[in-house]
Symmetry: C2
Subunit: 765 residues, 2 copies
């Protein structure tokens, strides 16, 4: 039937060509549907040859060939080209046919009617089909751009506070060529390079920032915290090695030791002349530090402690700096003096000589390759009859005299343990901030890519950017909002930490609980965000040059170290229960619970927030609405938890088992508490923000709050705190906020100030 596609014959049926082409090119019309179009065409023309041709073209038993269809399309394109004026974009198939035919012969009213009937029979959206038909290629597209709604530098400076100058110094150092990422180093090379970097940072004075001024430091905890957080913009192995040397090892001396330890060791620690380890975790005991088994026994005849690892499971494990570089370790031990046990204490144990050889009695194993952080030399330490001078006991909270007399300003063993462990809190604060920085790096890359990368789009137009897709906005923008929220909450936490370091009377328990909560919040957020951003960058995100590989692998362990997140959240929940009485820890758990339960019993119902009558944007976006829900959920969970625990303890369960039983509830409470704390920090931060940035930040705050509430809507609906109508309204409002914030997203990530060089992300530029 190739004669039907001859040039002459195509011209004779010109007005019908678009319809015919679409009918077949579609490829999905059933025979009877083609038949219906054919039927509609049956009186299309008075000219029998035209009529015959139309019936032939629309014969379901003899579909045109692929080649004929190609010719047909060519014919249409030629006819369109011939038509004098640009064709209206809103033409449908029938009108397109008419426009084409006019350039040939003109069209009769009979043909016109037939066209309309055929288009109806075809059942497609004629306008869209015509546009697709005419589309040839795609025009190039400009890079997406938008105006910031705020002064960019003003917000960046606000986010850099406090310690903006220190942050800038760290950025400048990291941008130096000496700190360029290595290209596929071996593990040994990577460890060596990280050590070189560490020493450079030591030389720059970053390591000793928090140490006392007379020990080579600057006495400036806030600056140290800021430096650490900013280092997380770069290589995370370096960050962790830095944290081990100056933070964990150095701080253990600083905070658990006394002046003579400070004078002797801190200057050398700050310059990395004395590379050190923080040996707390054992293979058998990670989270449960109270049950570690490494032992130090006082030996009066030599005025020394003898350090021993009783069995393999009690080896110190995952210890940074242990496999290669460490020369001394702060070792956590069970202290035994004169046959009495005094619980966990820290003691300085030399582990290597200056040539790097393990000292007698010290066995060192390499932890080998890890999922990430391979620039850090983690290893295992075991001790066999290692004698260290009595003076090596870090004795701020407990002293042993030459005569073997044990004294401590804290007589309760339990309180002593928690006080010493409290020195970990700085590490938690810092790890949380670093995780959030990993989220910032990932988002900085993914948001830019989302505005540049295009894929799919309407025919004849340039493709959509990825960020035009709602699903893509949903992936990135709530996480961006949460990153802002975490930023402000962590800033408040950091400030509280700095205050507590200067003030012994501050409430450490509250600080520790907040640090635990935000550490879990920020590290899970970091892991989740890095993953989502990798996926949002597709195959590009999988290439190592685009940095997700390193971010993902290196930040993964943040959810585990410095306290496993799940364990931390249980501590948070216990802390909340104890707030009722300010007298709560493991020992008298039952008492706190009962007290709490007595106070709250029967009170639950009064708390329900008054449901708002209207759920329009102004209500949903208001701080009050959001705050009410966050607070209600926390209160309700706390009080129902207390009741459930009381129940179990009344039934005779011991407290450990009662906790096991309601552990899901405890974690839910801790998470709800954290959301509330983070939300409050966000609100108060906005009040301090540059005025021109506030309205944008309020949108970010609303997106954080509403997307968090949306995720938790199951609970709110179950407990009558949201009506279905309000819950649905929240989801819609989240979508609206996504649309409003998309143009600001790139400016919001830029304000984090991560230098281009450190993103090392070709795809984002």
């Amino acid at each position: 039937m190739s004669e039907i596609a001859s040039k002459a014959s195509l011209e004779s049926v010109a007005p019908f060509l678009p319809l015919i082409y679409v009918a077949w090119a579609d490829g999905e019309l059933a025979a009877d549907e083609i038949g219906a179009v054919r039927e509609a065409a049956s009186t299309a023309s008075g000219d029998p040859s035209v009529q015959l041709l139309l019936q032939r073209w629309l014969d379901p038993r003899q579909p045109p060939s692929a080649f004929e269809l190609a010719l047909l399309l060519d014919g249409i394109e030629e006819a369109v080209a011939r038509s004098a004026t640009d064709l209206d974009q809103r033409l449908d198939l029938a009108a397109l046919g008419l426009a084409m035919a006019e350039s040939v012969d003109g069209v009769s009213s009979v043909e016109r009617d037939a066209l309309m009937r055929m288009q109806e029979a075809l059942g497609v959206d004629g306008t869209e089909a015509a546009r697709q038909l005419l589309a040839s290629g795609r025009p190039g597209a400009e890079r997406y751009s938008s105006e910031p709604a705020f002064d960019h530098e003003g917000l960046a400076d606000f986010l850099d506070q406090p310690e903006a100058a220190t942050r800038q110094r760290v950025r400048d150092v990291l941008k130096r060529p000496a700190f360029r990422y290595l290209d596929e180093p071996t593990r040994a090379e990577y460890r060596d390079q990280t050590y070189v970097w560490l020493k450079l940072l030591g030389e720059e004075g970053f390591g000793s920032l928090s140490y006392p001024e007379d020990c080579g430091g600057a006495g400036d905890t806030a600056a140290f915290m800021a430096a650490f957080e900013t280092l997380a913009m770069g290589d995370l192995s370096l960050l962790i090695k830095f944290g081990v040397q100056f933070g964990l090892f150095g701080s253990s001396i600083h905070q658990l030791g006394t002046e003579r330890h400070h004078r002797e060791y801190l200057p050398k620690t700050g310059t990395v002349e004395l590379p050190g380890c923080f040996a707390m975790t054992e293979t058998g005991h990670g989270s449960n530090v109270a049950d570690i088994e490494t032992r130090a026994t006082f030996k009066p005849e030599s005025d020394s402690f003898v350090v021993d690892t009783p069995h393999q499971g009690a080896m110190k494990n995952y210890i940074g700096n242990a496999a290669c570089h460490g020369q001394m370790a702060t070792v956590f031990v069970q202290l035994e003096v004169a046959g009495h046990e005094f619980g966990v204490h820290a003691i300085l144990v030399p582990i290597r000589d200056q040539d790097g050889r393990p000292l007698p009695g010290v066995s060192i194993e390499d932890d080998g390759a890890k999922l990430g952080l391979n620039g850090v030399d983690n290893g295992r330490l075991a001790f066999s009859g290692v004698e260290v001078p009595r003076a090596n006991l870090l004795d701020r909270f407990a002293q042993v005299s030459a005569e073997g007399e044990y004294t401590s300003p804290i007589s309760s063993p339990s309180a002593r343990f928690f006080t010493m462990l409290g020195t970990l809190v700085g590490g938690r604060v810092s790890v949380a901030a670093s995780s959030n920085m990993a989220a910032k790096s990932a988002l900085s890359i993914a948001v830019r890519y989302a505005n540049r990368r295009r894929q799919f789009g309407p025919p004849g137009e340039s493709e959509f950017t990825l960020f035009d897709y709602l699903s893509h906005q949903e992936r990135l923008l709530p996480r961006l909002a949460k990153t802002y929220a975490a930023h402000f909450a962590l800033r408040d936490l950091g400030r509280a930490y700095v205050v507590s370091m200067a003030d012994d009377t501050s409430d450490r328990r509250e600080l520790e609980s907040r640090a635990a909560a935000l550490k879990a919040f920020a590290t899970w957020h970091g892991t989740d965000t890095v993953q989502a951003c990798r996926e949002a960058c597709g195959g590009q995100g999988y290439l190592e040059e685009n940095r997700f590989a390193a971010l993902k692998a290196d930040s993964d362990i943040f959810t585990t170290f410095e306290g496993d997140n799940t364990v931390l959240l249980q501590l948070v929940a216990k802390g909340l229960l104890s707030e009722y009485q300010k007298q709560f820890h493991n020992m008298n758990f039952g008492r706190a619970v009962r007290y709490a339960a007595t106070r709250v019993s029967g009170k639950l119902k009064e708390l329900a927030p008054s449901l708002p009558r209207s759920v329009d944007a102004s209500v949903l976006r208001s701080r009050e609405f959001e705050a009410d829900l966050f607070e209600y959920r926390e209160e309700h969970l706390l009080e129902s938890l207390a009741l459930r625990l009381k129940n179990r303890i009344d039934r005779g369960l011991d407290s450990s088992r009662a906790i096991l039983d309601v552990q899901d509830h405890m974690i839910e409470l801790a998470l709800a508490h954290t959301d509330r704390v983070v939300f409050e920090s966000f609100c108060s931060a906005i009040d301090d923000a540059p005025e021109d940035a506030r309205s944008t930040l309020e949108l970010v705050r609303a997106l954080f709050a509403l997307s968090t509430l949306e995720q938790g809507r199951g609970w709110f609906l179950e407990h009558g705190a949201l009506e279905p109508r309000a819950s649905k309204a929240i989801r819609k409002e989240v979508n609206r906020l996504l649309g409003e914030l998309r143009p600001q997203a790139e400016h919001l990530v830029a304000a984090w100030g991560i230098p281009e060089e450190l993103l090392a992300a070709p795809i984002a530029n």
Copy 2:
């Protein structure tokens, strides 16, 4: 005050020692609370010296020292040791004091009363405090063990079907020393080793299993799929290299080519004599294959096609086997014949000579290091005027004659495109199954570790296993259940795929949609599960020897390749809309939507499932209850989506923009649909399972269903499909199921049959 802790003085206040110790050791009692205990002790004894001693011990202004407390504890321990019989575990502090005192002197009724009053004033749980006090060290614990509720081998064999023999052969091969994982190879070494492995598998005949028998194959698609899935127990770089060579490259020849291609190339492909690539994705076009820009133009004078890469963005990218080993590539091109465009076609292009040198006109770049899968040599390919014989066109669906005549059995260009792309479906099915295998590997390690690792516990008892913790059960068991669910759904999908390969008349569109849905489901599940299991193994999970490093890095890209999950879910949703009319694709989207909307309009309310009157376990665990909810959600989402789309199209939006607007809804629908499909597969699989395993599998099915419904409870509550009461009941039932399944967990993972050697997980053994 050290005289108060002398041996004699301690004996004189023996009955009060436990109470005194706890009062101070607690460390948290305020002065007025200690005062209250002291007050209660004020008439404890007629003996003034005893009375004085008690008042001294309980003086808030003079707390005992740490050392005195240690002596006190020693005193208690000695007294307990002296007491003739084993002390009752249920003694409280007062009773303990009495028991101790009896071994000394006996106790007066005055002392007895005072003890009671003091214990009350102390306000602790006396029994628990006494137990803690007496606890010294922890007894060793047996390894957790439990009896399987079913015949283990029977279930394992059932799970191995179909093609159990092939699976066993692959296991046996992978266990050979030659396939041992490399220890920290360089990238070059890893690529070489993977290539060696690939050739070994080729020699064993695994690669050609699906090829026709007269081309060196076994004509057995099912066996090939089983082999691929089982290979995912081992190194995933090998898996992907295997998939590229035999699956993508080989299958493109097999399915897009014709007999002469089969005869010429398949035998060499199966033995890896001809290593090949599958070059579809371009840097600029990953998901949107229709818009790729590589071009092949027919040149009649030389009877050849000329292949060209018009610009850098059109380079083929991420192409496996391209950087090092590939000698030929199936290249997807825009085909141009005699000035006409015929859309995307596949053509065989030699890229390297046998010595591995790129051929003239072919540029090859290395993609370099990646987040994972570094044993696969991904690269970029560009072509500049590369001529290949006309015979190289894979011409099953379109032929070009020497005269430049283009013919195709499928005249619609759109249908032709989708038919050719349909060849990808096998890859999707296989990647989904491999992701689920990654989840199985991760769970196999984490579940065992959870039963072995202990941390924290009640004083004096052995520590709890991690799996005793509800939060740990919540981390692992719903994912275990989902892995079972995915297993059965993927088995059904694999069977349908095998059927479709043998039967040209089968409904490919439905199969493609199901493959897309399950690919997204299984790959997100894999990523999520590997991460959760890594975290559940703490620091141990971070060490490379424990395999999470490789699992996490290597399986990460599964969510992106063979179709980005988000893009796939949109296809699924479009497919569901079109089911109303079986006539739906991009071209006539508007029609399908309108048709769908007409059919459903006003129907939504009738569908609400009748809420069950009772929500006890028998209802919640019933298939009917769960099926109703899954079905209702899918139907409701489908119909409300159709209405929303209709609305937008009626308002004049084109279909692409209408879709953007409701994209979240489309993805939600696709996910809901997938849950329902998976659930149904699970149910019907149980009906075929060995009888003794069914009741356990029903628990697994219920856990999968209820935890999925729990996660989605926000939607059900919003839409009145669940009442708050039922929603809460579901959460409780999930917890009950966790407790019931925990003893079976290790047996359930063992039934997956992943050899110990491949888990390479010291922590799990």
